[in-house]
């Protein structure tokens, strides 16, 4: 079997992200130190999540237009991988924060519990819970057409909820998390040129990896559907 060009690209970009991410030079900042390299991994999880959720909502809207079951399967699988990457982003963020934000000399930020009250973290958790409800909603409806229709409509709502929870409200409140002004990591002035050389390829690589996994799940679901309809 020969792999598609974009699967080979995924592999190449991920190896570049891991090898270049550790060996290429980064700016030396007192509080972050080497942890600044987490940009290539932690931040990429959220970027990939956002892109996969966008693919998911496009398929939901397509489903509502033409009622083809394939779009429903795709919407579900892309949302599933997106949520998974979001959870990984949350966990890696918790590890990162506990070694950079936590400050034993400052009682307000002494423990992990005090840090995790960040508006950005609460917003991200809310967004993930909204998507969690999407899967609970799906599994609670047994009729296939009804499930597809209701969950497609809910998916549009869940995507809309991403904007207040992870884009708007966290920016209105003071936060330790970077990216308070403007678009974090997308702004050309707030990310070092040397890091951009690894960061953007890494975002593409992780997103493609997510799309690859979601694509496999979609193909598996289609095979299952065919088997059920043949029996």
């Amino acid at each position: 079997m020969r792999l598609n060009w974009w699967k080979l690209l995924t592999i190449a970009l991920l190896f570049y992200a891991v090898i270049g991410g550790f060996l290429l030079p980064v700016p030396e900042l007192s509080q972050l130190g080497e942890t600044i390299r987490n940009l290539y991994f932690h931040v990429c999880m959220w970027f990939a999540m956002m892109i996969l959720f966008t693919i998911s909502i496009i398929h939901s809207i397509k489903y509502l237009n033409n009622k083809s079951a394939v779009h429903d399967i795709k919407a579900k699988e892309y949302a599933a991988v997106g949520s998974y990457l979001g959870i990984l982003g949350y966990l890696t963020g918790a590890i990162w924060a506990s070694y950079t934000w936590a400050d034993p000399n400052n009682p307000a930020y002494a423990s992990l519990g005090s840090i995790m009250r960040e508006p950005k973290l609460i917003g991200a958790a809310l967004a993930l819970l909204v998507y969690g409800a999407y899967f609970i909603l799906r599994s609670s409806i047994t009729d296939m057409d009804q499930r597809a229709r209701v969950s497609a409509v809910y998916n549009v709502f869940a995507y809309a909820m991403l904007f207040p929870t992870i884009w708007i409200i966290p920016r209105l409140l003071p936060s330790l998390h970077p990216g308070q002004e403007g678009n974090p990591a997308l702004n050309f002035n707030d990310i070092d040129a040397r890091m951009r050389m690894v960061f953007y390829p890494a975002v593409i690589g992780w997103t493609l990896l997510g799309a690859w996994i979601a694509g496999l799940n979609v193909r598996l679901e289609i095979i299952k559907e065919k088997k059920i309809s043949n029996v």
Binding site: M1, L3, K7, I11, L14, F15, V18, I19, F22, L23, W212, I213, L216, R219, L220, I223
Partner: protein, 68 residues
């Protein structure tokens, strides 16, 4: 499957040879320079190779199922 075995054999040869090397000269090879960051890179590369090999195998299996 044959390809995978060949790959594992290569990996085994590579790891054992680097092990004997490390016993002969305990200092100043690449893996021990720069605060041993290359060791971290090697570990992560191995994990990535493992994960991607798994994904490729899964892809193959699903392709086979689709043909049936």
């Amino acid at each position: 499957m044959y390809k995978l075995n060949k790959f594992l054999l290569l990996l085994f040869v590579l790891t054992t040879s680097s092990y004997t090397q490390a016993q002969e000269e305990t200092m100043a090879n690449t893996m021990r320079s720069n605060g041993k960051i290359y060791v971290v890179v090697a570990v992560l590369t191995t994990i990535l190779i493992g994960l991607i090999a798994y994904l490729v195998r899964l892809d193959k299996k699903i392709s086979k199922l689709e043909k049936e």
